[in-house]
C-alpha cells in the first residue's frame, strides 16, 4: 500500500503568540515550531498500516518553506520513507489554494490512502483534507477516531455530537485523523539518525490564491477583571447569587 501523509509545520501549542510588527503575522523568533499534533496521529496510523501489511511506502508531503524540512524529518524519524516538500510562500490562511496544490501532487502520486491531521493548530481551518477529496473525487472521512482496512475497503468511525458515525468506504480514500485514534510513537535515536539520510525532494509550486486577504492579526479582547468571591465552600452562596443576579446565567 502506498500512503501519503500531508503534514504542516506549526507553532508548539505551549508557545506564547506575539503579533509581529506588521500587525498581520506572528513574531516567529523564539517560537518553537513542531509537527502539527493532529498530523502525528496521521503519521502513526500510516506506520501501523504499513507494519500490519508487512510492506508499502509512506510519503510525507508538506507545503511551505525550507523550514518545513525539519518538521518533515520528524515524520521520517518516526518511520516514514521519504518526503516531498512543495515549496511555496503561504501568507493568509487559504485552504483552497493549498488543497489545489496538494491535489495536483497527490494525483500524480497514485496513492492508495492519503492521511491528514483533522486540523492544523495554527489556523485551525479543518478544511484541506475534505477539500482535496472533493477536488480529486475521492471518498473521504474526516476526524476519524477508529479505522479498519481490509481488501481495499475500510470502515472508520468519527465522533459527532452525542454519537459516533460509522462510515464505510473504498480505497483509494482520504482520511483526516482525530486525537484518540492511536498513540503516536516518539522517534527513537536510530530513527532520527536514519531520517537524515532519507530522500527529501523539493518541488517549487505556485499557489493560486482564492481571493482572501488577512488584513489584521490582533490579540483577543482582554477579559474584564474578575473577582475572587471567597474561600472554600462557604463562598458558594455568594457565587450563586452573583451568577443569578449579576451575570444572569442561572
Amino acid at each position: 500500500m502506498k500512503i501519503a501523509v500531508c503534514v504542516k509545520r506549526v507553532p508548539d501549542t505551549e508557545a506564547r503568540i506575539k503579533v509581529g510588527g506588521d500587525g498581520k503575522s506572528i513574531e516567529e523568533s523564539g517560537v518553537k515550531f513542531v509537527l502539527n499534533p493532529f498530523d502525528e496521529y496521521a503519521v502513526e496510523e500510516a506506520l501501523k498500516l504499513k507494519e500490519a501489511a508487512g510492506g508499502g511506502e509512506i510519503v510525507v508531503i508538506s507545503l511551505g518553506t525550507d523550514a518545513n524540512q525539519e518538521t518533515m524529518r520528524t515524520a521520517l524519524a518516526m518511520g516514514a520513507d521519504k518526503g516531498i516538500l512543495l515549496k511555496a510562500e503561504v501568507t493568509a490562511p487559504d485552504s483552497l489554494a493549498v488543497a489545489k496544490a496538494l491535489a495536483a501532487e497527490l494525483k500524480a502520486g497514485e496513492y492508495d490512502l492519503v492521511l491528514f491531521g483533522k486540523l492544523a493548530v495554527d489556523d485551525g481551518c479543518h478544511a484541506v483534507g475534505p477539500m482535496v477529496a472533493e477536488l480529486m473525487e475521492l471518498p473521504c472521512v474526516s476526524s476519524i477516531s477508529s479505522l479498519e482496512i481490509a481488501d481495499g475497503k475500510g470502515t472508520a468511525e468519527r465522533e459527532i455530537e452525542g454519537g459516533i458515525e460509522v462510515v464505510e468506504f473504498s480505497l483509494p480514500a482520504i482520511l483526516t485523523t482525530e486525537k484518540g485514534l492511536n498513540e503516536p510513537r516518539y522517534p527513537a535515536l536510530k530513527g532520527i539518525m536514519m531520517a537524515k539520510k532519507k530522500p527529501l525532494e523539493t518541488k517549487e509550486v505556485t499557489l493560486e490564491g482564492s481571493g482572501v486577504e488577512l488584513t489584521a492579526l490582533a490579540y483577543p479582547p482582554e477579559r474584564k477583571e474578575g473577582r475572587i468571591v471567597g474561600e472554600g465552600p462557604d463562598a458558594v452562596p455568594a457565587l450563586v447569587d452573583a451568577l443569578k443576579n449579576e451575570a444572569k446565567v442561572l
Binding site: 460509522v166 473504498s170 475572587i228 474561600e231 451568577l243 446565567v249
Partner: protein, 321 residues
C-alpha cells in the same frame, strides 16, 4: 441579487437549534447586502421544516429522501453546491457535520472557506473575524472572492426572530452520486443522551485538581444539576479518565458557552485558548495564583471536592425554589 444560502442541519428529521443561529447570522449578512436568505435542509422524508421563516428564511429549500437521513458527505456536498447556484455566500454551522461539509461545498464551488467565523459584515466584499492559534489571536480576513463558504461556531450568533415568509420549496434529490464510495451506515448513540461540550450553553470542566478518577463524579453531578455538558482538561484525558470528545483546549475543542465552570483546572495556556471565549467563566482552584483566575469572572479559592458538591446543592435549591 444573489441570495445567502444557509445550510441547515437535522437530526432524526428535526432541525437543530444551532441551525437557527446560522439562519440569524445569514439574516444579518443578507440585510446588509439587501438580499434574501434561502435555507437548505437535507434530510429524510417528512423532515420538519416548520417555523424557519421566523428565524429569517425567506425561502426554505428541502431535499428530502430517506437515504439522506444520516449525513452522507459526498451527496450532501453535491446537493448543497447545486442549491447554492449563484448565491453570494453559503453559511453553515461549525458542528461535526458542518466542519466536514463546509469545505466540501467550497471546493465544489471553487470558493474560499473559513470556519470559526465570529463576526461577519459587508455589502460587497465580506469581512470576517476568526480566531487563530486556538484563540491566542484574532484574525480579520477580507474576502474579495464571491461566492464564499463560512462556518459559524455554536453559541456565536444568537437566534433572532425575524418573521420572514419561509416558503417551502422542494428541490430534486439526485440519484446517488457516482461513484458512491463512502457511506455512513450507522450512528452509534450512547444509551443515555450526552450533551456535547461544544454545543452546550453551560459547560462544567474538571482538571488535575481532582485527584482520583472516581472523584470526577463531582463534575458530572454539577453538570447534571445545571443541565450542562461535562468537559475535561488535557491532563485528565491523557490519564484516560475521560474521553477525548470532552477535552477543551488547543488539541481538544474550542468552546464558547454562556457559562464555563473550571473545577481544579490551573489554566495552562493551551486550555485557556479553548475556553476564553466563554461569556462567563467561574474558576474553583486551591491555588490563588493559578492562571485560570486571570480569565475568570468569578473565583473561589478552595478544594474542588468541598466546593463543587456545595455548588451542586445550591444550584439544585435554586431550580427547585
Amino acid at each position: 441579487m444573489a441570495a445567502i444560502l444557509a445550510v441547515l442541519e437535522q437530526r432524526n428529521g428535526e432541525v437543530k437549534r444551532v441551525s437557527h443561529e446560522v439562519l440569524s447570522a445569514a439574516r444579518s449578512l443578507a440585510d446588509g447586502m439587501g438580499v434574501e436568505v434561502h435555507a437548505l435542509v437535507i434530510g429524510p422524508g417528512g423532515t420538519n421544516v416548520d417555523g424557519l421563516g421566523a428565524f429569517g428564511a425567506d425561502k426554505v429549500l428541502v431535499a428530502a429522501d430517506d437515504s439522506l437521513q444520516l449525513y452522507q458527505a459526498h451527496r450532501y456536498a453535491y446537493i448543497a453546491a447545486s442549491a447554492a447556484g449563484d448565491c453570494s455566500a453559503v453559511l453553515i454551522a461549525g458542528t461535526s457535520m458542518g466542519r466536514d461539509l463546509g469545505p466540501r461545498i467550497a471546493a465544489r464551488m471553487g470558493a474560499p472557506y473559513f470556519n470559526d467565523v465570529k463576526s461577519l459584515e459587508g455589502s460587497g466584499e465580506i469581512s470576517i473575524t476568526r480566531p487563530m492559534y486556538s484563540g491566542k489571536a484574532i484574525a480579520t480576513v477580507k474576502i474579495t472572492a464571491s461566492p464564499c463558504v463560512l462556518s459559524v461556531p455554536p453559541n456565536a450568533f444568537a437566534p433572532v426572530e425575524a418573521g420572514k415568509a419561509g416558503a417551502v420549496e422542494e428541490v430534486a434529490v439526485p440519484e446517488a452520486v457516482e461513484p458512491a464510495r463512502a457511506t455512513t451506515v450507522n450512528v452509534k448513540e450512547p444509551e443515555t443522551a450526552v450533551l456535547d461540550v461544544s454545543e452546550s450553553a453551560i459547560v462544567v470542566s474538571g482538571g488535575r485538581g481532582i485527584k482520583e478518577e472516581s472523584d470526577f463524579k463531582v463534575v458530572e453531578e454539577l453538570a447534571a444539576a445545571l443541565n450542562g455538558a461535562v468537559g475535561a482538561s488535557r491532563a485528565v484525558v491523557d490519564n484516560g479518565w475521560r474521553s477525548h470528545s470532552e477535552q477543551v483546549g488547543q488539541t481538544g475543542k474550542t468552546v464558547s458557552p454562556n457559562l464555563y465552570i473550571a473545577l481544579g483546572i490551573s489554566g495552562a495556556i493551551q486550555h485557556l485558548a479553548g475556553m476564553r471565549g466563554s461569556k462567563v467563566i467561574v474558576a474553583v482552584n486551591k491555588d490563588p495564583d493559578a492562571p485560570i483566575f486571570k480569565v475568570a469572572d468569578y473565583g473561589i479559592v478552595g478544594d474542588v471536592m468541598e466546593v463543587a458538591p456545595r455548588l451542586t446543592e445550591e444550584v439544585k435549591k435554586l431550580s427547585e425554589g
